[in-house]
Symmetry: C2
Subunit: 204 residues, 2 copies
Amino acid sequence: MPQGRPTTVPDDGLTTAQRRSLPLLMVHTGDGKGKSTAAFGVALRAWNQGWDVGVFQFVKSAKWRIGEQTVLERLGELHEQTGEGGPVTWHKMGAGWSWSRKEGSTEDHAADAAEGWAEVKRAIAEERHDLYVLDEFTYPMEWGWVDVDDVVSTLRDRPGRQYVVVTGRRAHPALVEAADLVTEMTKVKHQMDRGQKGQRGIEW
Amino acid sequence: MPQGRPTTVPDDGLTTAQRRSLPLLMVHTGDGKGKSTAAFGVALRAWNQGWDVGVFQFVKSAKWRIGEQTVLERLGELHEQTGEGGPVTWHKMGAGWSWSRKEGSTEDHAADAAEGWAEVKRAIAEERHDLYVLDEFTYPMEWGWVDVDDVVSTLRDRPGRQYVVVTGRRAHPALVEAADLVTEMTKVKHQMDRGQKGQRGIEW
């Protein structure tokens, strides 16, 4: 997409340069494909700028995201080996969050999600990453596993220069309201409609 | 997204396994962000599966896509060095397509686009890649720089097992009709609306 021109200049007392460097809260929502995929595309670009990327995967599956995880972790290794790009940390619910002692077997998804969010909060307070990918985080919000007001105020009032992308269907209106950039991915047509199932390499 | 279940089983004489392995023609369109970003996310996963990825970038800019190009070309190098993932070829209009003798200075965008498409056709006929990213290709189609019927029949009737992703706004109805998976990215909210300009690392 061409670099756009703002249609209005806000009365916020900031210069264009200051405004340009405001960190963004982004939301990818809707029922279509590409919400997470585009978030990992953003992570690619961030890595290339040398940003510290933290992924928090709020889904439980050995299979989903394995392609993205492998590649982003490989890029994180490259950074360690050669200094290219930035560091990458990938935290996954279900396999046990990396800071958590317990492993895998828990079936208390609500507690897992709350624990994941508590770690995101700590990371944000410490300004640990430049980009946070909160993958499929709209669901714990929807299901009441995390407190929506707490999430929205924490993300909106985060310190420093930290970018956040939240993905998932049915983003909460309060999150949409707080976000700077909200994109809805809408399914126009899907091969599942004609009976074709998900495909390795494309769906995961 | 969870692996979905088809809502209907088509009467096409194929088994589920055969149907699952049908190569897809995908379109990312709409006025929102994430069309190309999600396509490069698909390319990430394809690389991780060891697929041969060919990117054809139908835009002219030194700046756009530079993050994705750097990372995907780096992954292509990794493949050459270590055998990880798959090969990546990145062709760019404007800098002169890689198979073209002329360099940069041409201003005949229509001829450049037609030349790019001719090369895509050759590649598809030779089954050169497993995944084609035809980035911003809806515009040459819209502007009459390439023949829509030729594009649609070539993509629809491509031989073998070749996946294609086409990105850009206002995808031609005939392309949408031919596609297996069409996602529309819709802008719900954008920081440019409040006067914030594009940002390095996020927009490019």
